[in-house]
Structure formats: C-alpha cells, structure tokens
C-alpha cells in the first residue's frame, strides 16, 4: 500500500492570514460562496486563566481537500503549504508528520479520508 500523506500544522504560529483558504479556493476554481477545501477557525483574543490573551487559529480541512493531488503529482507542494505566510504547515507522509507532531507542542496532523 502506498504511503499515506497528510498535513502538519504548527498552529501556535498560525497568524490567521487566510492565505491557505484563498490558495485552496483559487487552485480548485471555487468561487465566492462555494465550499472550500480548508476553512480557518479563529478564536481570539481570548483571556486565559493566567490573565494573558491568546489567539488560537486553526485551518480545518473539509472533505473537498484532495491534498492538491494535481500539484503533488508534478512535484509541487499543496498550495496551502506553499503559500502559508507563517510557514507553519508541512506536507508529508503521515508517519513522519506524527513524529514531528510529537516533538512540536500545540501542533496537529490532518489525515485525509482517501
């Protein structure tokens, strides 16, 4: 079985710039109002128990995310990873991403359906 690929998000650095969303929409030709492959969930500024404000931004991938199959087939990165302004996303084999996540506080790995 071919190795399964996914996405790793080091979300403590996600600034909420929406580049992943727009990159996805443009790449797949989805128009305003149409569903996208990734949606940015934003929370903050939220006061935490320690008295400091926090932002927690997280790109969440929908069933329309195909990990940019056309792009990766020709040796490019998924467009969200390529354009992420905070450079906090990575694309790779899930097994490797899981190891990376283990070493990275407040990160997560997205594993697609297919």
């Amino acid at each position: 079985m071919a190795e399964k690929y996914g996405l790793f998000i080091d979300y403590q650095w996600c600034t909420g710039c929406h580049s992943c969303e727009m990159a996805c929409k443009v790449e797949h030709g989805w128009k305003a109002g149409e569903a996208n492959g990734v949606i940015l969930f934003e929370d903050g500024p939220r006061m935490m128990a320690n008295g400091k404000y926090e932002y927690n931004n997280l790109p969440v991938f929908t069933s329309q995310c195909d990990l940019c199959a056309d792009r990766t087939a020709m040796g490019k990165l998924p467009t969200c990873v390529h354009h992420c302004q905070a450079a906090c996303m990575k694309y790779g084999p899930v097994s490797e991403l899981a190891k990376l996540a283990e070493a990275t506080p407040r990160s997560w790995v997205y594993v697609p359906e297919q």
Binding site: W13, T15, G16, C17, H18, S19, E21, M22, A23, K25, V26, K31, A32, G33, G44, P45, R46, M47, K52, Y53, E54, Y55, M74, G75, K76, L77, T79, V81, H82, H83, C84, Q85, A86, A87, M89, K90, Y91, G92, E96, L97, L100
Partner: protein, 779 residues
C-alpha cells in the same frame, strides 16, 4: 519532502530562468507591485496563456517572500479580470456626480489634458496644477516626475492626507536625526537571508504603531517577524490599544490609550538613561546632545506616562530594561506613529532609543537602508528640473521648510486644501489624480475634501476601477494597467526587482506609458525616451541624484533586469557610519550637520521647532477636551488593517469580499452591552464633525472606552451616481476626522486618536450619510 523552506524547493518545477514553458502555460518569474496596491513587492510566477494571466503562484526561489503570498495576491487574477475594470479613456458628458461618460481615444484624452494644462500654465502659472497619488501604488516617482518635468509644478502631494501622516513624519525626522531612515533588520538586505553568517537575530523587537503582519508597511514583509520569532527566539514588546496576534505573543504588551505612545516611549528613554542602561560607547562617539536629551527625559517619569497612557508604570520600566538589555534590539514602527499631532517627536524618541542603545545599523538592529543603486524611487524624482523660484512656491514651504528639504519632499495636503478653498496664496485650477481615491480613503474630513475637489475647474483621474472620487470630480478618466500589464520595477529598499508585462487589458496603459506619452506632449525635452522600456532603463540608471556616495549607481538596463528577476547589489554593509558610506564627503559619521545622531536636533533648533522629543495630548481627548468628552465619551482609533483589502481597494472582488463583507467597529463586550448591541449589529459612530455606520465586532481586549473602526469602505456593488456615490460616505470613518490640525512642522495628524459616541442604527434613525453629503450639504 517535509519542508517548504528554500533549500527544499523542487528545482525541476521551479526554475531560475525568468521564463519557461510548463505544458500549455508560459511561466514568467517576476515581481508583483500594483495595481492593486501594496507596500510589498513579492516575487511571483505568472502562468499565462493566450496573453492572459490564468494563474499566479509565489516564487519559492525568491529570498524576499520565499514563495509565500497573501490572499490579495492569491486572488489577483479575479481582480485583474474583474468585469468592472476601466477599459477605455472616458470623458464626462453629464454633470459631475452623474456618472455619465463617453468613450474617447487616448489621443483625444491627451489633447484635452494638454489644452487645459497650457491654458492654466499661461493664465495662473504651473503651480496652479496639483498632482496627487495615494499610497502603495507603483507611482511613487512617476507622478512626481510628471508634475515637476511635465506640468512644471512644485505641487505634488499625497491625496489630502492631513499632516502627510503616513511615513513622511518618520522619514523627515529620520533625515534630520541621522540623515537616513531605518527599518527593522530581518535580513532582507542579504541574499542568503537568515542563513547569512553576518546576520544576527534581534533579541527584542519593539513594535510601535502598526500590525505588520497585516499591513506590511514600508516595504516590509510582515511575516518576517514570525520567521525571526520561530527561528531566532526573538521576543516582542508591543505598543497597541488592542491585543493583536503579535501583542498576544509579546513578553510585554503595553496597552496605550490611542495617541499617547510618545509619553510611553520618552518614559522608556528616561528609565534607560536613569538606570544607566545605555550604550556609552555609541553615545560618546556617535551621538550629539545626550545631556540635553537626558534633561528632557527627566520630565517624563514612568508614573507620568502611566497616568497619560493608562499603561502600568512598572510595565513601562520593565519594557525599557528589556529593550536596553537586548543585543541587538530593533524597532518595527508604522503608520500610527505618524497619525498623532506629535508624530515627529514620537519618531524622534524611537530614533533616540535605538541610538542610545547602540542598535543603529548593526546586524539584526535598526538598519539604515537606501534604495538599491540609489535609484530615486521617491517623491523628489524630477525635482531637479524646477527652478528655485518655482520650488519656493511649493504649498506648505512657508510654514514648514521641512517640506522642501525633507527626505521625501512634497507639498502639504492641508495647505493645498486651503488653497483650493480660499484661492490663497494662489488658486488651484487642476488636479491630476493618479491612483488615489481620497474621499474613500486617506482624506481626513472626507466631505470637506469632496466639496473642495468638486470646486476645482479641471480634474483628471487615472485608476483601474471607476471610483467615488472619479465620479464626484473627474472630467477625464484614464484606465491604467495592473501589475501584470506593465514594464516597471520595484526597489523599496533592496533588492531591485523586475516587474514584467505579460498581458494586456483592453486599452489600459501602464502608469509609465501614461506619464511618458503625456510628458512627451507637454515637455518633450524632459521626456526623451521612446518607450516605457527606455524610460525604465533611465530610471534604473539614474542613481546618485541625492547621495554622492553609497549606494553606487548601475549601468544595468531594464531588459537585463528582466532576465535577472531580482538583483542584489554587492555594496551592502552594516555599520556604514564607520565606513564613510553615509556622508556626501565620504567621511565616517552620519549625514547630519554634526556627523552624529542628533539627539538634540540642530536643524529643528535653527528652524524654531522643539529640537527634542516631547509629548502632546491629542487635540480632542478625555484630557484636552473633558467637556466635549462627556458628549462623546469614547476614544476612537481608526485604520486597523484587514487581510482582505489594501485601504479602499478590492471591495468589488468577490472572493475577498466574501471573507470580509462589511465595515467593522470593535467594541469591548461591556460597551456593546451598555448600548444594547451584539456582534453584527449596525451602529452609528458619530462626533462633532459627522457620523457613519459600521457593524459591531466584539473585541474583549479593548479598554471599554476605546472604539476601533475600519477605514476605506465604499460599496462598488451599489449605485455609482449621486446621491449614493457608491455609498462612499455611509461607512466612512473620515466623516469624523479633521483636516488642518497637525504638529508645528505640519507633519502628523490625529487620524487615530479621535473621540466619538456610539449608538444602534434603528429604523427611526437610519439614513444615508452619502445623500446627506452629496445632496444636503451636510457633514
């Protein structure tokens, strides 16, 4: 493949050539800079087919943005080919405001403009013609050159921006303080970037007056800050009334009352001097007037600054110690520094802080930039063609000699507005408005500026879309090209980057073509170039107009630059003041009277301005106008940037508008509850001058008495003709701001520190502010 960093780039797919074929597409490696507007100049790959841009991608081989792009560039193809773009030159056929036009040819348009220019020059003198531009469009040198060389007028101005309150206060005092500007060093002058062995990550960044991640001001890619935080462990001190993402990551977030930053920064200086935390060596060798500065700072103990700003005194001291202890420390400063009446003294305080802490022009510090090859990418381009007599007529010079002598000389917008209204010191008969939409964006007291612009007898607008400004006042409208439709270049600051034409759009022409073709008709001697390519080669090679030494000029041609894509000159160094690179006489030191960083400013002293930093309360505030504050009990700050839009642009672009459909005003939850509104409700924001309506967003990090409203809103999906005028006054926060209230140098204006009241929009009180302004003479 586990990386999106430069070294991991797949070179089979991303090439170092400037152009290649990829399947059905021609791929062109170049750089993007306007239209649409921006302060960056990111490297992109255009994928074109049949003369049309089909796709865009960030160039991962570019050390500048390393493949990254913001959502505006990602969606730029939708902007490039928006059906509402201007396609042909237009001449007004109805009354101003009716939005009725006829298509004319370029020759007819130029003939009409030349006829009017000649008549005005003869009857009133060239100075009666005012040229203007906004911010962030690639016309920084083109419009000035047309004004000085084509029209022969010294009056080039930033579209009614009161107090020239964007960048110019900082460049001007930088020029007087040390002969140069500074930018935070994020390795952007080094081709190898963070990997260059010379580079040092800053230990602290003091972030004042901007949210760089969103605004990317002054040729600075905001997310470089995230890079240095991640890779170099850089820490932050942030002065901001709202807890931005950067503020949430900061060691010290100083929540200043809008407009009081100067008090805090001078108090930080005081702590650094009082506790002997400054760099004695740098102060002794490279600073002038330390004793005077120390005396001045004593007037600003942390407790006083705390009382003024609302920031805890101990926090101010801690932040001062952290900055002084950083080796290196740097400052990321921005627009809001300029947007108070004490913009100049605040900028002076920040420069002083960097100087006494020894952070000027060290790796990772406050580096001194100039444009690559000393290319005159500035508002002074072409000024050498004016006589001293004509220069002396520049509006604003009589009040403030800085306007003629500053680093970026321009006429003063407030003075131009007065001249239009009063005919004094001479009448204004024509406005040449290139890529600015003042009544939607940068003009304070927008209704007043609307009336003034309409009163000028002949106006030309150059833009990409029909704007409220064009409908309100233009007689001729010229369609200009987008970034992909022009041969041009980007050089703010380093490196030099190509902008290559890869497409055409109907009859739109580039700004370079427009000034060249118009200039050739007006003053052929000063426009000797046959094509835009020749013009660009002249520009690239025209260095050392304002500096004798560094940087050296180049003999590179535009076609050569196109093939290079990005050109890194080899004459970059840190600590240039030690090398004799900064002064025209080639001696070590700074390019000032004393050769030093002037903590006590000798030029200001000679001109009768305060030579040292001071704090001045905003002209309308809880402190300066307490009675007025009872009626308008909120402090209003304006102009926070959004990811989706560059100022007043892109409201017509569907995917961007989807992400941010409405103008937003931030309120503290208690404040929202107090006036009985929830997130998404429409409210009126109103003060003595006018009102506008925006939707509520809840922001718990604000002080309950602070209101934070967006700017730049108009509604291109609505009726363009008056009374609606694209709804330009409906949500316009500049119905509330003021013209003509500036610092003594005429620099700095209180855009971001106003007062207001707020209340819900109801069926009973709802109305159209645009109709009030355009039909009823209101606001």
């Amino acid at each position: 493949m586990l990386t999106n960093e430069l070294e991991g780039v797949n070179k089979d797919v991303y090439k170092t050539d400037w152009q290649w074929q990829e399947g059905e597409y021609t791929v062109t490696r170049t750089n993007m800079w306007t239209a649409p507007g921006c302060h960056n100049g990111c490297s992109v790959l255009y994928y074109t087919k049949d003369g049309k841009v089909e796709k865009i991608e960030g160039d991962p081989l570019s050390p500048y943005n390393q493949g990254r792009l913001c959502m505006r560039c990602l969606d730029v193809v939708e902007t490039f080919y928006h059906p509402d773009r201007l396609k042909y030159p237009l001449k007004r056929v109805g009354e101003r405001g009716e939005n009725k036009w006829e298509r004319i040819t370029w020759d007819e348009a130029y003939d009409d403009i030349v006829k009017h220019v000649r008549e005005i020059q003869e009857e009133f003198g060239p100075e009666a013609i005012v040229s203007m531009q906004g911010t962030g469009r690639n016309i920084c040198w083109q419009t000035p050159y047309l004004s000085y060389a084509g029209f022969g007028s010294p009056n080039f101005v930033l579209g009614f921006l009161s107090g020239d309150a964007c960048y110019l206060p900082r460049t001007t005092i930088g020029h007087c303080f040390m002969g140069d500007f500074f930018v935070a060093d994020m390795s952007q002058h080094l081709e190898k970037r963070y990997a260059d062995p010379e580079y040092v990550y800053p230990e602290y960044i003091l972030n004042v007056g901007n949210n760089a991640l969103v605004s990317n001001g002054d040729g600075f890619f905001g997310h470089w800050i995230v890079d240095v935080m991640k890779q170099g462990g850089t820490k932050l001190i942030v002065l901001d009334p709202s807890c931005t993402w950067l503020a949430s990551k900061a060691e010290y977030w100083l929540q200043v009352r809008p407009g009081t930053d100067a008090a805090v920064v001078i108090a930080m200086l005081n702590t650094i001097i009082e506790e002997d935390l400054y760099d004695h060596d740098f102060v002794e060798n490279w600073c002038y007037g330390f004793e005077e500065l120390a005396e001045r700072c004593k007037e600003y103990p942390a407790e006083l600054a705390a009382e003024i700003s609302g920031v805890d005194a101990e926090l101010i001291r801690q932040a001062a110690r952290a900055f002084a202890g950083a080796n290196p420390g740097t400052i990321q400063w921005g627009l809001k520094v300029d947007q108070t009446v004490c913009g100049i003294p605040l900028a002076q305080a920040l420069l002083s802080m960097g100087a006494i802490c020894g952070d000027i022009d060290v790796p990772g510090g406050m580096m001194i930039p100039r444009c690559a090859y000393d290319i005159p990418d500035s508002y002074g381009c072409g000024m050498w063609n004016l006589s001293d007599e004509m220069l002396g007529k520049m509006l604003g010079v009589e009040t403030s000699p800085l306007h003629a002598l500053g680093f970026d000389p321009t006429a003063n917008g407030d003075t131009v507005l007065n001249a239009i209204e009063t005919g004094e010191p001479y009448p204004i008969k024509m406005l040449f408005i290139q890529s600015t939409n003042p009544i939607a964006n940068m003009a304070a007291d927008a209704p007043r500026v609307y009336r003034a612009m309409r009163s000028v007898s002949y106006n030309v607008v150059v833009d990409v879309f029909m704007t409220p400004t064009a409908i309100a006042c233009a007689d001729i409208v010229l369609p200009c090209g987008m970034s992909s439709e022009r041969n041009s270049a980007r050089v703010w600051w380093w490196p030099l980057r190509s902008i290559v034409k890869v497409a055409d759009y109907y009859e739109a022409k580039s700004d370079e073509q427009i000034i060249l073709e118009l200039g050739k008709r007006l003053e052929p001697r000063l426009f000797p170039w046959n094509t835009d390519v020749e013009l660009m080669t002249w520009w690239i090679q025209s260095g050392n107009r304002f500096h004798a030494g560094w940087p050296h000029k180049t003999d590179e041609t535009f076609p050569e630059l196109v093939e290079k894509v990005i050109d890194w000159p080899d004459d970059w160094a840190y600590r240039k003041y030690e090398l004799g690179w900064l002064r025209d006489d080639g001696q070590p030191g700074f390019n000032t009277n004393t050769g030093k960083c002037e903590l006590f400013n000798t030029l200001f002293d000679a001109w009768g301005f305060d030579p040292m930093p001071y704090y001045e309360e905003p002209p309308e505030s809880p402190v300066s106008t307490p009675e007025l504050f009872e009626e308008y009990p909120y402090v209003l700050t304006t102009g926070a940037r959004t990811w989706e839009y560059f100022h007043s642009e892109e409201r017509q672009v569907p995917r961007l508008r989807e992400s941010h459909p409405d103008p937003l005003t931030d309120l503290h939850p208690d404040t929202a509850a107090k006036i009985g509104v929830c997130a998404g409700d429409w409210i009126w924001v109103e003060n003595m001058r006018g009102k506008c309506k925006q939707r509520v967003r809840i922001n718990p990090s604000l002080k309950p008495d602070t209101v934070r409203s967006e700017h730049g809103w108009w509604f291109p999906e609505t009726e363009g003709a008056e009374p609606n005028l694209f709804g330009v006054f409906d949500s316009n926060i500049n119905n509330l701001t003021v013209q003509g209230v500036t610092g003594p140098t005429l620099y700095g204006a209180p855009y971001a520190n106003q007062i207001c009241k707020i209340y819900p929009v109801t069926k009973e009180n709802d109305c159209s502010p645009s109709e009030i302004v355009t039909r009823k003479g209101g606001f």
